[in-house]
């Protein structure tokens, strides 16, 4: 069963190439303040160029693999990733408080980056089994466990940001038929908690509105009940429930260690700790905000160049784009990412196997979550969580992992015409 070469999706690869190239130029812009040579492999941009080369070679190699082989190694990859993750807890190297790095042959390497890919593969394999059903609680539990397990290990590594990425697989489950009530309910609880923190004293208003709105919607429209006494009682219970959530949020946050508390509260007002936890957000907003419509010009971002923004070549690299290329630059990056995700959705939906589709949505979920959290934090919409911006943030493991993630999807998709069968 040979694949038709033309089925390799050129659009996806083109967008990917654009993002990688732009990413490297941005890293060069950040480090060019030191006036370094473009091809000096001792510099950050030099190293990144080397990693781009390695990633491309690895990506091409993956493209050559047979899709059945990929399916075949899914569980093995997953198991291997779990072993590496656990190993990292014991022999890993600590960077910025997170014990998430392994040193292999002198090169630092972050297993959690690959664990995401392995999880997406394994989940795709498990959920594409013929007898898999979303309505079977036992099978659902196994699928959920496959996601929760690596998340727990990564939390143990003290790398909360990477652990949260696994939460994004909820989108995969949703696509495959998970009852939306649960995620919506969780989302609501989360919203109430956030609003309770934000509005502090007015938590009961928030809880009341959400409670009444939610209950009214379900009871009046779905349940179609005319028993007003019952409606009233359910409303009271709902309000009490959300109030309790709001209250306990306050309670729990107060129980958290002080540094985590400030990290949460800084989201609402970076000014409460301008030199500490709020510093990053204030500085990154200033850098992005000072870019204006078209920016200060490539390589001319003084604010990022003079290191006012911390971690500017890794987690906060979006600031350099914002400052040097302005809103046109940042919007273009957002559009490119959206285009890539859209193309992936197209690939996923048009694939002929469940395996490819589920894996495709896994890729979408992971990429989307990274962009959401990374860009969100630089503009103060999401708490500061240290995860990289795909293709832009400096880092070998991250770039290699994202490249392989995409290479696998494009590879799987390219067998479309050679796989018999219909969509499930």
């Amino acid at each position: 069963m040979n694949r038709a070469r033309l089925d390799i999706d050129i659009i996806a690869i083109l967008i990917f190439a654009l993002l990688v190239a732009w990413g490297w130029v941005t890293i060069y812009a950040v480090t060019s303040a030191n006036g370094a040579e473009m091809l000096d492999f001792g510099t950050i941009h030099g190293k990144q160029l080397m990693w781009i080369g390695i990633s491309l070679v690895a990506g091409i190699l993956v493209m050559m693999l047979d899709y059945r082989f990929l399916e075949f190694i899914s569980y093995i990859a997953y198991g291997g990733a779990m072993v590496l993750l656990i190993l990292t807890i014991f022999i890993g190297k600590e960077v910025n408080g997170a014990q998430s790095w392994l040193i292999i042959g002198g090169q630092p390497f972050q297993p959690s980056e690959f664990a995401k890919m392995a999880t997406a593969l394994a989940l795709a394999k498990f959920m594409s089994r013929l007898n898999f059903s979303m309505s079977d609680p036992r099978q659902m539990a196994i699928a959920a466990a496959m996601v929760i397990l690596p998340a727990l290990i990564v939390i143990k590594q003290n790398d909360t940001g990477s652990a949260l990425v696994f939460g994004s697989f909820i989108l995969v489950f949703f696509r495959e038929g998970l009852n939306p009530i649960l995620p919506i309910f969780i989302l609501l609880v989360g919203m109430v908690a956030v609003l309770a923190l934000w509005m502090s004293s007015a938590w009961w208003v928030v809880a009341g509105i959400v409670g009444i709105g939610l209950v009214s919607y379900f009871i009046l429209n779905i349940a179609n009940t005319q028993n007003w006494v019952r409606v009233g009682i359910i409303h009271v219970i709902a309000i009490a429930f959300f109030s309790a959530i709001a209250l306990s949020t306050d309670f729990i946050v107060n129980k958290l260690p002080a540094h985590q508390q400030t990290r949460i509260m800084v989201l609402f007002d970076p000014g409460i700790d301008p030199q500490g936890k709020g510093y990053n957000v204030i500085q990154s907003k200033i850098a992005i905000g000072s870019g204006g419509m078209s920016g200060k010009g490539l390589f001319d971002g003084q604010y990022t160049k003079y290191k006012f923004v911390p971690k500017q070549e890794t987690d906060f690299i979006f600031c350099t784009i914002g400052e040097e290329l302005g809103w046109m630059g940042t919007s273009a990056v957002m559009i490119l990412f959206f285009a890539l995700l859209w193309r992936f959705q197209f690939l996923a939906e048009n694939s002929k196997t469940r395996f490819t589709r589920i894996y495709g949505y896994g890729v979408i979920s992971i990429l989307f979550f990274h962009v959401l959290v990374n860009v969100g934090m630089t503009i103060g919409l999401v708490p500061v969580i240290g995860i990289p911006l795909p293709f832009f943030s400096y880092g070998g493991s991250s770039l290699l992992a994202f490249t392989l993630l995409i290479a696998i999807l494009v590879n799987l998709h390219s067998y479309r015409s050679s796989v018999l069968g219909s969509k499930v």
């Binding site: 989108l171 949703f174 696509r175 495959e176 038929g177 301008p274 030199q275 907003k285 200033i286 850098a287 992005i288 905000g289 000072s290 870019g291 204006g292 419509m293 003084q302 604010y303 003079y306 290191k307 006012f308 914002g322 400052e323 302005g326 809103w327 940042t330 919007s331 957002m334 990412f337 959206f338 995700l341 859209w342 959705q345 996923a348 939906e349 949505y361 979408i364 989307f368 962009v371 959401l372 860009v375 969100g376 503009i379 919409l381 969509k423 499930v424």
Partner: protein, 604 residues
Amino acid sequence: MNDLHIRGNMIMGLIGLIFLLFVFRLFSIQVLSEEYALRADRVVIKTKPVVPPRGNIYNRYGEIYVRNRPMFNMLITKNELYIPDTSILRNYLGISQEEIDQRISKAPSRKEAIFARYIEPETYGALQEVLWEFRGISFTASNKRYYQTPVGANILGYISEVSQKEINASNGNYKRGDQIGKSGIERSHDSTLRGQQGLRKVQTNVYNREVGSYAKGKYDTKAVKGKDIMLGIDTELQRFGEELMNRKKGSIVAIEPSTGEILAFVSAPSYDPNVLTGKELRQNWRSLRNDTLNPLYNRPLMARYPPGSIFKLPVALAALNEGVIQPGTYYGCGGGFKRNKGKPGCRYHTVLNLHNAIKVSCNSYFAATYMDFLHHEQYQDFYAGYQKWYDYMKTMGIGRKLNVDIPYEVSGLLPTSQRYDKWYGPDRWMATTVISNSIGQGEILMTPMQMANLASLIANRGRYNPPHFVRAERASQDAVWKRIPYDTVSTRIATQHFETVIDAMEEVVASGTGGRARVEGVDVCGKTGTVENPHGKDHAVFLGFAPKERPRIAIAVIIENAGGGGTWAAPTAGLMIEKYLKKDIISKKWEYQRVKNMSFIKGK
């Protein structure tokens, strides 16, 4: 199944919605809001003052007298401050942890404030190496004065950080952290020496370190270096005078009569001007302030003494010019002024003419002269007579400020008739009431500077240039010195009267009370004085000039509690004259040892 297909689109819709929200948010902070751009500029672009070097001061021979040592001040901005390791600050700046904490807590939160002053260039260089991780720290250039010839502290004064009061009074010329002259030349010529601060817009990185100019310096203003000043002071003579006045209280003022330039200005006891510089300034100033001998007190300009017998000279000059006496006028002595019941008292002299009266300093003669002046028939009444006499004294610089070019000069005391009226009642006083004025022991008080000026105007036969320190200014090392003109004041007293008095003064030194002022080969003219001091031993005074023709130095010496003017003040003046005219002590070596080693301060 169709339902699940829609879910895929719902997911993309959600993603699209969130990305759209981000793009809107980006539009609002990047395009709609000016705030972030302004904040970025404010943080990156800083306006820094450029402190020009303070002008140097030179002595009358154009040799460097006061110069600068470049120093640095460390500034902190509290709300940007990040200190990873305080031990670096402790070790390099030599301050304790408590001191560090205290200085930080005192600093305002947003504005730059001085954290440490007078950091040596070497320390500054070393600090630059180790401070790269620190945030919120910057440095400014500063000057520390270095008094190359450490003499004349009371002339030069000192510089220190400007006070809030001075900032408020300066119309925005000074701001926090600037230096200002606090006394002496440094104060009176601050605007000349200081130059003009420039402003520089610079780009700074997160560590507040400069990384380049802004807009290629388009908005910068240049700093203008302070002007150099040349003083009339002969630093070697000044040093010599201070050596002579060692362990004594008093003053020496020497003036070049032809120009009014002050050659030496000794205020004893004094201090090393270098102690009032740099880090130790405050502490040293406090201990000088608490010194019971008061070395900060500028005696030549601020101390007021009854002039004693030297005052007979202006009395004689006024009387001669008014025709009250002639050089040949004789008065009897009889051991006291007979017309006023023997007061003031006198040694028993024979009948004397003016020449001999000056030579032996006869009190009776000048009491008589003074009385005849005030009650002279050519004046309408006694008041008119007193006013005439008063005017003569004023024109000779007595009882008024001479506008010397350093601050805190006092005017001495020359009472007006109204003042006497107040004390005694109108018409209830007359010449005999104020007869002590004739011999300089009455109400009249003079500063050593006024005495020296008197010597200078006698030497000039009636004219004087107001005494001053500053001879010339120049904009830079390459520019030519520009002399500062001073107007000549004339006393309108006829020259021949001066010749009469000067002849007598020559005799005073040649064979009279001022014999110890003699200098071999030089015609020294002078007059001794012994100032009665109700609080202790008399003060010794000498006033004189040399040589007699074309005088080059006029001098006044007053030594507190030294007794008769002939014994200590005259030799001191003689030594100064020899030192200035011969550049060395040749004929007066023995006097030099004698004066130098004598002390008139108890316990010293």
